[in-house]
Symmetry: C2
Subunit: 330 residues, 2 copies
DNA sequence: CCGATTAAGTTGCTTATGTCAAATAAAATG
DNA sequence: CATTTTATTTGACATAAGCAACTTAATCGG
């Protein structure tokens, strides 16, 4: 495949010096994975493509099927193959009656490409064939292990595809049903993140555990609610509303995993929480935080929360200001 | 590549009917991952191999480097390439001074293959080259995200390489230091597994949380201990010893993730726990369980625990027998 | 509008990659 | 010792892929 457009090797010289060399372990893991998965893909592909079409030809077919209304250039960019080679592949596929060319009215040089009925049939046939192979491959794994496989693959695709490894909202589901494991995951997420970001130790995690206890003891299915943001089986964001005496409510455990920030997840969670508070006709919503969580504070303010108090305290081994924010619900 | 030895397609007919068709989601995830990773590997490989040696030639070199003292047949089996093609590759590599052939004294047809100094140098050069590429690839990811990538890859390799997806002990590390996130993970693991295996609901998870609270309240660094079995960043097994009045101790949270059972992990954990109890000179160790955890019970018995009581109770919404096992420490 | 330039796709030519079948030669078998 | 099997090699061939020159259509700058 031609390779003019994306020459990493030129960037290496300038980039690599900025990178930590300490991560050799990660690099080794990736290398052995790549070697392993090269073989794995080889095994799979042999069987799909004992048809009269080659791997590359099938990849072209996939591309045409996937992107409706693409041109030769689109495919060339997507699959990074030589234009001349592609031209011949397209001619072969057209001769074989798998694809159709629709000349562009606005550009006499290009044609839209689409699958013919026959092409579509071939794709589905190959699809089911390869699905069957994958089923054989997965047959000896427990359902839980299969979930792990799918989750790991989704993680990799997400992290390696976006240039900055950012997730998008459509990879995340938000649910309110509290399933076994969720309580522990909320505690764990807090423990890990606050350690990463504020150097809090296990004492903080214990504190979170106590608040969860408290929440569950007073739990009222209608008046309390937790929103859990989950991406490929992992908890990546939380928020909860806990009812309090006198038509008040407390917002708790608002937290988003760093790799999922800046994509509107915080907004989505907060939106649902606030909507819930309105529905429940809480008069006032409050939350407790510290002066160290400044980015969170900014977000609270944006959502109409106002700092009502700020008292010095020693919490979890840190000297800080314990702050209380409130918001009146019209 | 030739493909006579491993023809999955023949197995498909007989196997596939036994498999659940419901897992189409998993299959789809795998398919899109494969498409994605094919491209990814393509990108990487282009750059490594703009040397005068092809992908396959380099794979052969890897194989020779990796398996010291292999023959042509060994490589042929490992990489599944045509014998004739391989013969030519080997000749080219030998001419290029990268490999050496050492005729076998006991078999005049074959030779052991090994890398020459020059070959070794090339391998390390390509190794560092490809490492640099991987560094560039990972540069824009946060360290946490990089960990996720490595973890996901290790999971995949482990699950897809062993025929039954079984882990081996060397992929697991057991530690006793209690880090932030661990408490939550222990709770979560219990919640998820007991739901999967005994249909316990969140009430059980809350109970576990309370026991963890209790443990932490009375925590004594010398006399209490937790063993955490971790595989690619995920908690897969636990056991703990909690000191009790009168030189007694309680064994708690003994649990192993299903995919990690039957590989000696339970034994390893129990061994460490019992060694600890002996060191601490506890007179008696006890544990509480129910009649439903029968496989665990068998293991307890094997480790010298004896059932001392069995009383009917309603716990976490289930009618069961609450059982107490004890073991005298000589 | 026109010549120059750029972009999309095609074609001829070449090399690299891989396969198949037959040949060779050493080892194992009976 | 004849026969079969195994490991490797060789020859002939086919496919896959890349490069460069070319055609045709669009665009751009005056």
């Amino acid at each position: 495949m031609s390779n003019k457009m994306f020459d990493l090797s030129k960037e290496i010289g300038s980039f690599v010096k900025m990178l930590p060399m300490s991560d050799q372990r990660v690099i080794n893991d990736i290398r052995s994975f790549n070697r392993f998965y090269t073989a794995q893909l080889g095994l799979l592909q042999q069987h799909i493509f004992d048809s009269e079409y080659s791997l590359t030809e099938v990849r072209v077919l996939y591309e045409i099927n996937f992107n409706r209304q693409t041109t030769a250039t689109g495919i060339r960019d997507a699959l990074q193959i030589d234009a001349g080679y592609l031209s011949r592949i397209l001619r072969k596929l057209e001769k074989g009656g798998l694809i159709l060319k629709h000349p562009l009215p606005e550009d006499g040089r290009s044609s839209y490409l689409s699958l013919s009925d026959r092409g579509r049939r071939l794709m589905t046939k190959m699809g089911t064939l390869s699905d069957d192979q994958l089923r054989v491959m997965m047959a000896h794994l427990t359902p839980a292990a299969q979930e792990t496989v799918a989750g790991a693959m989704n993680d990799l695709r997400r992290l390696l595809s976006a240039p900055d490894g950012a997730a998008t909202m459509d990879q995340i589901t938000i649910r309110t049903e509290l399933l076994p494991g969720d309580l522990g995951d909320i505690i764990s997420l807090h423990g890990k993140l606050y350690m990463q970001e504020y150097r809090y130790d296990t004492r903080f995690e214990r504190y979170v555990m106590e608040t969860i206890q408290d929440f569950m003891v007073h739990y009222h299915p209608a008046r309390d609610r937790v929103w859990l943001a989950v991406c490929s089986g992992r908890l990546v964001g939380v928020v909860a509303i806990q009812h309090r005496p006198a038509k008040q409510a407390q917002l708790r455990w608002f937290l988003i995993s760093p790799d999922f920030r800046g994509i509107g997840l915080g907004k989505a969670l907060m939106q649902q929480a606030m909507d819930f508070c309105r529905e429940q006709k809480f008069k006032k919503v409050y939350l407790l935080t510290t002066d160290q969580q400044d980015t969170a504070a900014a977000l609270y303010k944006r959502w109409g929360f106002i700092k009502k108090s700020s008292v010095p305290a020693t919490l979890w081994g840190h000297e800080l200001l314990e702050e209380r924010y409130e918001r009146e619900m019209q």
